[in-house]
Symmetry: C2
Subunit: 199 residues, 2 copies
DNA sequence: CTTTCTTTTGGGAGTTACTGTCATTTCATG
DNA sequence: CATGAAATGACAGTAACTCCCAAAAGAAAG
């Protein structure tokens, strides 16, 4: 996941970060996000509140820290050049979901559950997605040898991210990403490619 | 815009609300969003901070209070039934932008500038858009006589909203929606309808 | 091992957005 | 004018941050 830590200092920092994160997630799941204070998290992780904010600039960032989106863009760019962009995207989705190790998967799932359950977090997650649109628009253009600000490339990126977002579970009792979801993503991208038939 | 106020009380409330809003927007534009405190706004509008929060549950809501999205859905549903969904959407965009009176337009523009300039506001605005996706998905399905949770309808709604969002100016020095923008929106929807050709 | 330098940590004080409560004022009504 | 309802303002309190400074812990050098 991350580069292997060398010095004692690095190892301690990684451990502290992980501890804060784990205790925070647990408390959020147990008592709810809003009802959990930063002080409680700090107490549980045995650090001072000051230290908490040194590791995570905001309470939200404990949950939102690293995003999957950049990985997605990288995998997308690694696809064979002969694939059409939307097909390359589908293949990238497939690659990511099949190659993910179970532990990462489980953690990802807990995160998704929290994010989609808490409006505050959902808002920021979606904002991250708009940054992903920029990344994707650039990536698509690059792949096809088009200028970086190519209009149709932007539209495609926006449509793809929007479509995927739209089929994410978000209502009451929603569950995060499940193993079956990557096939729904592929269906959505196929529809896009075919001009959005409604039949 | 709103129903005509009858009683003295109603009129006063409307005036107070407008005053808070106007002073807030002015201060945000002059000194920036974060640098403006609720107390300053309350002072300028000559109300107590308590009253401020009675009118707007959060500082953000002064800017985000009413959204254009619901209007969009209504106009979309009012389009002639023989238009294909994406064409109906295009026509709805056209109707709204041409029918908007200049004063509303000017205010809308100031709002857009603020929203797209302040990350915090942008995040919440985008969240509102996801709610719009739900509305649109339902509207599309309804128009075509499909079940409310029809998968391709959701994908279409998500793609359309995502595409439009993607071509909104958001970078540094970005300007809000300008009169020329509705044609860009139409271009985007046309691309969607045609299966997203990149040429 | 000790000294010195650097990084990390904890503590405290301060700001700001927001919540809840209660007395007072302001409008509506008979 | 009297009475009830709604709006307001002042107050106290909480929680998420921010800034700053002194103490602790790891790294490097003698």
């Amino acid at each position: 996941m991350t580069a292997l830590p060398t010095s004692l200092r690095e190892r301690k920092k990684a451990k502290t970060r992980a501890a804060i994160r784990e205790h925070a997630m647990r408390l959020f799941e147990e008592q709810g996000y809003a009802a959990t204070t930063v002080d409680q998290i700090a107490d549980a992780a045995e650090v001072s509140p000051s230290t908490f904010f040194r590791y995570f600039p905001a309470k939200e960032d404990v949950v939102l820290a690293d995003d999957l989106d950049e990985v997605m863009v990288r995998v997308f760019l690694a696809q064979p050049a002969e694939l059409a962009p939307l097909d390359a995207m589908m293949q990238a989705v497939r690659d990511i979901f099949t190659g993910m190790d179970p532990q990462v998967w489980a953690f990802e799932r807990r995160r998704q559950d929290l994010i989609f359950g808490v409006p505050e977090l959902r808002a920021r997650a979606i904002q991250q997605m708009t940054e992903t649109v920029d990344l994707f628009a650039g990536a698509i253009a690059q792949r096809q040898g088009l200028p970086a600000d190519h209009f149709p490339a932007r539209v495609m990126a926006g449509a793809a991210v929007g479509a995927i977002l739209a089929i994410m579970p978000s209502g009451v009792g929603a569950q995060g990403v499940t193993p079956g979801d990557h096939s729904r993503m592929e269906q959505a991208l196929t529809l896009l490619r075919d001009g959005l038939p409604l039949g």
